[in-house]
Point group: C2
Chain length 412, copies 2
């Protein structure tokens, strides 16, 4: 039998009624001839409740115990999903991470998956079981303790199972019906994409599109797992969602696939830094050690041996970045005249694998923004992405203008 | 180090504050020089919530999935208790049933404990861990599935651990401060007992005193585990609770230790049964097969080859008992003229190991009841117990009168 992996997030299993609706979708795929591995999250709100309990115990906690506590929500959903499927006469059983076993590193609360031996579950498929319901987000360490995979862990669990079992596809059921050209709340012309390439999805995910977690997309790309994002709320036969797939499987050939944005960016400038070899390392080494996620970097033209160094980082890391810089200055490692932090900025990006072969995307992007009087503060590019930092008040305008200019509302 | 087992029930761990109070008691025993095994229940209400979820999935459910779901409440408490102890600088870690491993039969939802290998936990004690927090009520089957132990499972877990680890004592923390001569809500002269013999506790537990679950007392008696019942709510230094122990360890020598009662009894009479050899088997065989728990049995003197057969059973089994009798009659296995079910009765019992060596307890009991005009409907006795069935309206009066007559308010 071909194998299908289906993952249901917290809102898709928030109540017994929703679990029943999800189970119906599973039952339909069984009727279609699949052996199905279902990955479930905890019922919406449960994990937060458990994290709240752990936080109440005190400020510093043993991540091993944290994992033992917060993983329990998924166990409940897995059992309930198996029971619901059985009630529909679909042979199913639940598996907790340690029962599979889903083997991980010992990095509790953010463990990495090391191995998923398929033997135990395959043996049950061979005996006639049609659905293995697996508690997402959790595994077992080499020491036999329960681990959790950190943010987005259930998506990652799903993709890892699809890879380990050679699944035909991994369907991620969520509360949106696919990946859009941009956020429909900002641009009402936003259009759902039928397909998107792994590389594009990866850029969009890391740029703030919350529909899939970055790690799960990375994993899918590495193991060539066809990933589909679709809604668990729509009509069962209408939602086809968005297929995240290999570049070669994409028929439509737009240069730009989507426009992403992030409000959560700050621009920091070190004024009049002594410009010498090794200065970048002297600045970004301490920032990295302080846990600051530096994104964009711009170095101005040097005048008389001094330069301004500008970088961006998440807004909530500004204080940490300032502290790290002042400490490096106090130690004599770097020298600057002042720090300017601008938290009133936003990042807007255009993403598309077509940019590899098409020129002129950057020029067009800059012209569109310029035509609307939007000043660009920092620019970074990758092979398939151009990001700019602009004043936050222009963010919505920039997204809409770029969406229009690249005609993303039209099918290629 | 000597080992102590401490068990905290659902109300004792209902909130983080209560978990903290329980953890303080554990910390004090560690300071007293013990290595401690803590058995925890789910936070009050959690297990019922999970059972409700399972019930919602449908009327017939796979007990293996039921166990996977309902066991998760204890896992949460175990992790939170370990975290709370760590926060108090007490080296602790949590253990789920499968991690110990607590090996059980495959009788899901009412599994029996088969073995608790102490090696894993002892190795951690040897490394300096002071407290092993174990999720109660759960274990692992030979097939590697999660099992639960059924009603009172956490008490049973605690006693089994005490036996397996040769613990000095097993302390059961609950919401009452010990075992009483009778229910204080009925007789305000009820007195807390400092000690009670296993056999007495067993009779009281099975007679409806809800402080300890029957199975846990049986287990404690078999393995000679000293069991103490005490409150987790009182002042830490005042509550000494009640010690359930071997007969030889009891100093005070009352003939009667306590008066128990049960409202949940019905009296059933089969009128004019043909009296022949094997008639008892013909009646009580079908009742047993129908799952009716027959308690007391009385057969009237036979007249002209016919007799009346009276027995008692729990009130909620009356319909089942009637059905079983009518079916047996229809098949021709038994013959009777009618069934009378009296659900307006109650059982009152006096219990005491001293009854083995003292005569006259029954006579005194019957006289006390007679003096108050209470008619006795059925009598049963064991070596250390006399039970009578009376009209329910006299129950409180009977309990109070017997408590007074046997001077249970006075220390021996």
């Amino acid at each position: 039998m071909p194998i299908l992996v289906m993952k249901f997030g917290g809102t898709s299993v928030a109540t017994l009624d929703r679990i029943r609706r999800a189970a119906k979708r599973v039952g339909r795929e069984v009727a279609n001839g699949y052996d199905v591995i279902v990955i479930v999250s905890a019922m919406a709100g449960e994990t937060n409740k458990l994290v709240g309990f752990v936080d109440e115990t005190g400020p510093f906690f043993d991540a091993r115990e944290y994992d033992a506590v917060v993983s329990s929500g998924e166990n409940v959903t897995a059992g309930l999903m198996a029971l619901t499927l059985q009630e529909m006469d679909v042979p199913a059983r639940s598996w907790q991470g340690w029962q599979v076993p889903l083997k991980t590193t010992s990095a509790h609360a953010s463990a990495r998956i090391e191995e998923i031996p398929p033997e135990n579950i395959m043996a049950k498929f061979d005996e006639g079981m049609k659905v293995a319901v697996v508690a997402g987000f959790q595994g077992i360490s080499p020491e036999g303790r329960i681990t959790t995979l950190g943010r987005g862990g259930s998506d990652t669990t799903a993709v890892a199972f699809a890879a380990a079992f050679g699944a035909e596809r991994c369907d991620i059921y969520t509360d949106v019906d696919g990946v859009y050209t941009t956020d429909p709340r900002i641009a009402d012309k936003a259009r759902k994409l039928d397909r998107i390439a792994f590389e594009e999805m990866l850029e969009l995910a890391s740029l703030g599109a919350k529909v899939l977690q970055t790690r799960s997309v990375e994993l899918a790309m590495r193991y060539k797992v066809k990933l589909r994002v679709l809604s668990s709320f729509g009509d069962m036969d209408e939602s086809v969602g968005t297929l995240v797939c290999d570049e070669e499987d994409i028929v439509e050939s737009k240069v730009v696939a989507g426009v992403a944005y992030s409000r959560d960016e700050a621009k920091m400038t070190l004024i009049s830094v002594a410009d010498r070899p090794g200065i970048a390392a002297a600045i970004f080494g301490p920032l990295s050690e302080a846990g600051v996620n530096v994104d964009m970097i711009v170095q101005n033209i040097s005048e008389e041996g001094r330069t301004d160094m500008t970088f961006s980082c998440p807004t909530d890391q500004v204080a940490r970045a300032e502290k790290a810089m002042e400490e490096a200055k106090a130690k004599g490692d770097i020298n600057f005249h002042g720090i300017i932090a601008d938290t009133d900025v936003a990042k807007v990006s255009v993403v598309g694998i077509g940019m590899r072969s098409h020129t002129g995307v950057a020029a067009k992007m800059f012209k569109v923004l310029s035509d609307d009087g939007i000043n660009i503060k920092v620019i970074t590019t990758s092979e398939i992405k151009i990001s700019v930092l602009i004043d936050r008040k222009y963010m919505e305008l920039a997204v809409q203008a770029l969406h229009d200019a690249f005609e993303l509302d039209k099918v290629a």
